[in-house]
């Protein structure tokens, strides 16, 4: 394969947004716009003829590799059960619960300085936080704690394996 095509292919693949012809021309020295367009057209034809899982398409004024549309059902199947990430709010709430449990929501709100209802609901749904019980005081507030799944997610034998703030501080202080 001609080296120029290989370079364009690498650029297309690594680019975050659809790649414009202008951008390719800027990156490759001594290359005319016309030449780039014809190389791109060649690439599109090559991938289409090959009939593989990927194709090159002109999108939003640029060019981008995509999975073949008729294979989307398979790709969606792959995405199910993809590990979820915790939002910063969820992570903070979880941290407070983990280190201060068993505790009531009012205490979480106080420490975080914001209402933790939304984040807490999400954590309950994900089953990493649970209702431990209720307090026998007026209002019967709910007490929260972490679950066994929490230990699994963080790969901990038990809660005493949680790193302490002091340990984190030790790691930090040397940085200056």
């Amino acid at each position: 394969m001609e080296e120029k095509i290989a370079i364009i292919e690498a650029l297309l693949f690594a680019s975050e947004a659809p790649l414009t012809v202008e951008r390719i021309v800027l990156t490759l020295p001594d290359t005319e716009k016309k030449e780039v367009v014809s190389l791109l057209e060649g690439l599109i034809r090559e991938y289409d003829a090959r009939g593989g899982g990927i194709c090159l398409r002109e999108i939003a004024g640029g060019f981008q590799f995509r999975t073949r549309t008729d294979l989307s059902a398979w790709v969606r199947k792959l995405k199910v059960g993809h590990p979820a990430l915790l939002s910063p709010a969820a992570l903070e709430t979880l941290a407070v619960v983990a280190y201060r449990q068993p505790l009531v929501k009012a205490e979480i709100d106080r420490i975080r300085g914001v209402d933790a209802s939304g984040a807490l609901r999400g954590l309950l749904e994900k089953k990493i936080v649970r209702i431990v019980g209720r307090k026998d005081v007026p209002g019967k507030p709910i007490i929260y704690g972490t679950t066994r799944k929490f230990l699994e997610v963080f790969n901990l034998k038990d809660l005493s394996e949680l790193p302490t703030l002091r340990e984190l501080k030790d790691l930090q202080e040397q940085q200056e």
Binding site: G81, Y99, Q101, G145
Partner: protein, 246 residues
């Protein structure tokens, strides 16, 4: 001075020592300690004169070198056979240097590999499927690291009263483990006796933590404890029936 630029590129005292050994083209297994000690110390002086922060480790190695040097000056103790594998005072240091050198080389060879985002790149764009959110699976996997969790906690705590920073001790966490366990069983079984909670595992630590956990739960008003007669079985009940968010 050719070594001016070298001053802050050392990764530590061992690195400096290796540099001196290489510079003098010395056999690492037969280090002329007097010469190397002298050069090492003059480097430290130089670093000091440039007001560079000298990590304590540099001084520790300096004293080690001086110690080895003085040992080598002592005549061998009487009766010590010549052919015996006499303890070369340098042996430990040499071993340490060799080990460090091996890792230093390993670090360089790691750096020579095709590194992601430096030499190789993965697909840059998010695929169409990633952009549209996928329905959450029932038993969802969560990808998060314990380090992120502590960092998040520290971020919050730092803004608070200093008292909050009182360290989390592992004792408290062991207690919390027991508390969670007790409450879990209480929700399942409705009530439970102290003896049941202990089960077969009656080691001292477990008894103490179980007992402390119950006291804590009572203080928190989460359980009630009843005893039908003196010295009779203690039974625990949830303080408030029912669960679920209300």
């Amino acid at each position: 001075m050719s070594y001016e630029i070298k001053l802050d590129v050392f990764e530590g005292p061992l690195d400096l020592l290796l540099y001196l050994i290489r510079k003098n083209e010395i056999d690492i297994y037969n280090i002329p300690i007097a010469l190397i000690t002298e050069q090492y110390l003059s480097y430290l002086d130089l670093m000091r004169s440039f007001n560079l922060d000298l990590a304590g480790e540099y001084l520790v190695l300096a004293s080690t070198l001086i110690h080895i040097k003085s040992k080598l000056l002592l005549p061998p103790a009487e009766g010590e056979g010549e052919e015996e594998e006499g303890e070369d005072p340098r042996a430990e240091l040499v071993q340490q240097l060799l080990e460090y050198q091996a890792f230093k080389e390993a670090a360089l060879s790691l750096d020579k590999r095709p590194l992601l985002d430096r030499d190789v790149f993965t697909r840059g764009a998010a695929s169409e499927e990633e952009q549209t959110s996928v329905e959450e699976a029932d038993d969802e996997l969560i990808e998060v690291d314990i380090f992120e969790l502590v960092t998040a906690f520290r971020r919050i705590i730092v803004g608070l009263d200093r008292k909050e920073e009182l360290d989390i001790d592992t004792e408290k966490m062991s207690l919390t483990d027991r508390i969670n366990e007790i409450m879990e069983r209480l929700t399942e079984e409705g009530q439970i006796s102290f003896a049941d909670l202990l089960g077969d595992r009656t080691d001292r630590k477990r008894i103490i933590y179980t007992f402390l956990a119950i006291l804590e739960l009572m203080k928190l008003r989460m359980v009630r404890a009843y005893q039908s007669e003196s010295f009779g079985a203690i039974r625990l009940f949830p303080a408030v029936e029912g669960r679920g968010e209300g």
